[in-house]
């Protein structure tokens, strides 16, 4: 990738359309009984047909061996070096619920959790309490007063909330209080730089007062904080690529991330058919569409191989409406692999295909990990996807004289 300054110089507006379908966590591993991955097990005539007309390959979201979180995985897809552009967990969570962050605000991801009478964590998600209960508990914590620092405690879903600290001279250079495993006590938040000492004190004061106020709750009797972060300075998609981009995503986090990098976020429904319908309705209004499909990742994380196969088939089923739009560039990619056998995000490279009039086809006739390995793109960094998309949409001038 040539760098954003060069990209800004050679990118140009045009009427061609890029549809960028992200199947979250799509890559998998073979089922021990069949020897076939989730993609190889699914009946998916549309995806396989696209593969036959595409240039295929396998992407490394960050670099070989590195398992990406959702934010870096997606940033790489849109051309941002995920090591350079670090979006903290707190910010990602805040963006996902449409919080309007001011420069200087600190956001942290919070969990309601259960601790026993010795203060040891017994459930990091407090039995996945209801979102209604979550909202009630957030109200209970919202008027905690912290030495002139404003706070917001905003419910997300189930056990998740966002803590916002707003005031002068706050620093996000803080360790997590969340040890990310049960059997341990929550940790003290510690400053990673001198400048952050005061903020660490404030965070710990919040945790301590929250613990007091939650003492009598049956399960959600403590909070865990992680990913203290500022809103990063990050160039936008319209600025870098001269695109007019829209995001069609059902999950808040992906909507938030899309907004952060300058996409319009379109209201849409909960399932992929709604999303395709949204795409169709707004097809004339934008030249770049990020369509995010979450179920492949969710079922992979559940460790449910069959359900992930089903999720792939459901997507495939909904693709007719998308294919009939016949965009100049159609991309099917993933932000990382989530093999059901591992039941978590993984480091395995991710099947990729790009269909366009001007792509040089390869012999791949199926959308799967093994088939894409023989693709014309070989194995390549995910940050190369956007230059390829732009080139195939004839939206790039040549580089140099």
């Amino acid at each position: 990738m040539i760098g954003f300054e060069h990209m800004k110089r050679i990118s140009r507006g045009s009427t061609s359309k890029i549809v960028f379908l992200v199947m979250d966590g799509v890559g998998g591993l073979p089922h021990p009984e069949t020897g076939k991955t989730e993609l190889e097990s699914a009946r998916k005539p549309n995806l396989d047909r696209i593969a036959r007309d595409s240039l295929c390959g396998l992407t490394d979201p960050i670099s070989p061996g590195i398992t990406p979180g959702s934010a870096p995985g997606h940033l790489a897809l849109f051309g941002y070096d995920p090591v350079l552009y670090d979006v903290g967990r707190g910010i990602v969570e805040a963006l996902g619920i449409d919080l309007d962050l001011k420069p200087g605000d600190i956001a942290a991801r919070g969990n309601f959790c259960t601790v026993d009478d010795k203060g040891i964590i017994t459930d990091r998600r407090a039995g996945r309490l209801s979102t209604e209960k979550n909202a009630e508990l957030c109200r209970l914590l919202s008027d905690i007063a912290l030495q002139g620092t404003g706070i917001s405690v905003v419910p997300v879903k189930e056990h998740r909330f966002v803590l916002i600290l707003r005031g002068e001279g706050l620093s996000p250079d803080l360790t997590d209080s969340d040890p990310q495993q049960i059997g341990l006590a929550p940790r003290k938040v510690q400053a990673l730089s001198e400048h952050a000492e005061q903020t660490a004190g404030i965070a710990n004061e919040f945790v301590s007062e929250a613990s007091n106020r939650l003492r009598n709750q049956s399960s959600a009797n403590m909070v865990l904080l992680r990913g203290f972060s500022h809103r990063p300075a990050i160039p936008s998609i319209p600025e870098i690529y001269k695109l007019k981009p829209a995001a069609i995503a059902a999950y808040p986090m992906y909507r938030g991330l899309a907004r952060l990098i300058g996409m319009d976020v379109l209201p849409t429904g909960e399932n992929i058919r709604d999303q395709v319908e949204t795409l169709r309705r707004h097809y004339d209004d934008y030249d770049f569409f990020f369509v995010h499909y979450k179920q492949t990742d969710s079922r992979g994380e559940d460790g449910d191989f069959g359900a992930k196969v089903k999720a792939i088939e459901n997507l495939d089923n909904a693709l007719d409406g998308l294919l009939s739009l016949d965009p100049e560039v159609l991309i099917v990619a993933g932000d990382h692999s989530t093999p059901a056998t591992l039941a978590m995000h993984s480091w395995h490279p991710v099947p990729f295909m790009l269909r366009a009039r001007w792509c040089r086809h390869d012999a791949v006739s199926e959308f799967s990990e093994r088939a894409c390995l023989a693709g014309g793109l070989g194995r390549f960094p995910a940050t190369d996807i956007m230059p390829l998309a732009m080139a195939n949409a004839l939206k790039l001038d040549k580089f140099g004289a």
Copy 2:
């Protein structure tokens, strides 16, 4: 690529020969009727025989998706990071007509153009005036006097000329006057740094006086300037690789670029048979030969699929004389693709082969885009070619203890 400082340390002189044949714009796309690319359509027994004895692959001249201009495309072939070593448009143009640039000179590419009576550009090429008329107009502008700055106005072909500014303290940090579209007025040249204010004034004074002198011309009544640039500081091939290099190129731009990086430029004829004859005549005098074949690119840019196929066949026909020299390393590469169906430079990776006693062969038996995809080098950055050439010529010591 390990960087030039390291390369200088490990490269060593030897008697082995490297012949580096560049088929400009060689990569293509399938013809819609036959499904075969230009290379796949051509009868080319020599190239296919070389492929059978070679290590093959596909090069990315800059990075995936990026379409190179001729200068960065060639710089990459010789190991120069084309993003780092930026050769400006003005310099490329000047090199192409054998202008002897001094350090500190500023070169700009000029167009004679047509403006209407409101000063709006109606033809950026003044009806592609004749080269003779161009020479006459350049003479008319050559004695414009500019505050102690020397100028040369040198005709190129048709509507194109080169402007050289020579004097103390000139800076190329200037915007173009050429808006690169019709319907607009030429722009004022602006300084991009404080240091360049004076040079901007001089450039604008040139434009204004040129406009006066051209006022009564029927079509070529104005000039457009772009790509103000210095001769870049660039390490030479002999310095980096300890090679004694010669260039055998029929087109001025490639001769100029070769001279810029320290190659001797050998006088040669207009066609590939002349070039091969030149190679044979000077074979004992050098250890590195850059042989540039232009026709594959020219016919591709014409959009003439059949003529590009023919250009490949003509080259193949002329190869006997080259093959009988049996150089220790023979490379066949391209600076970029120029698919006839696109009729322009493109971003598609470029077929590559390297034949040498010590290369590890692969199973490729044909020189084409699809065949090279299965080659032992896979897809790789063009800047890796020179280290591979040097290694296979046994001209590199090992790196580190």
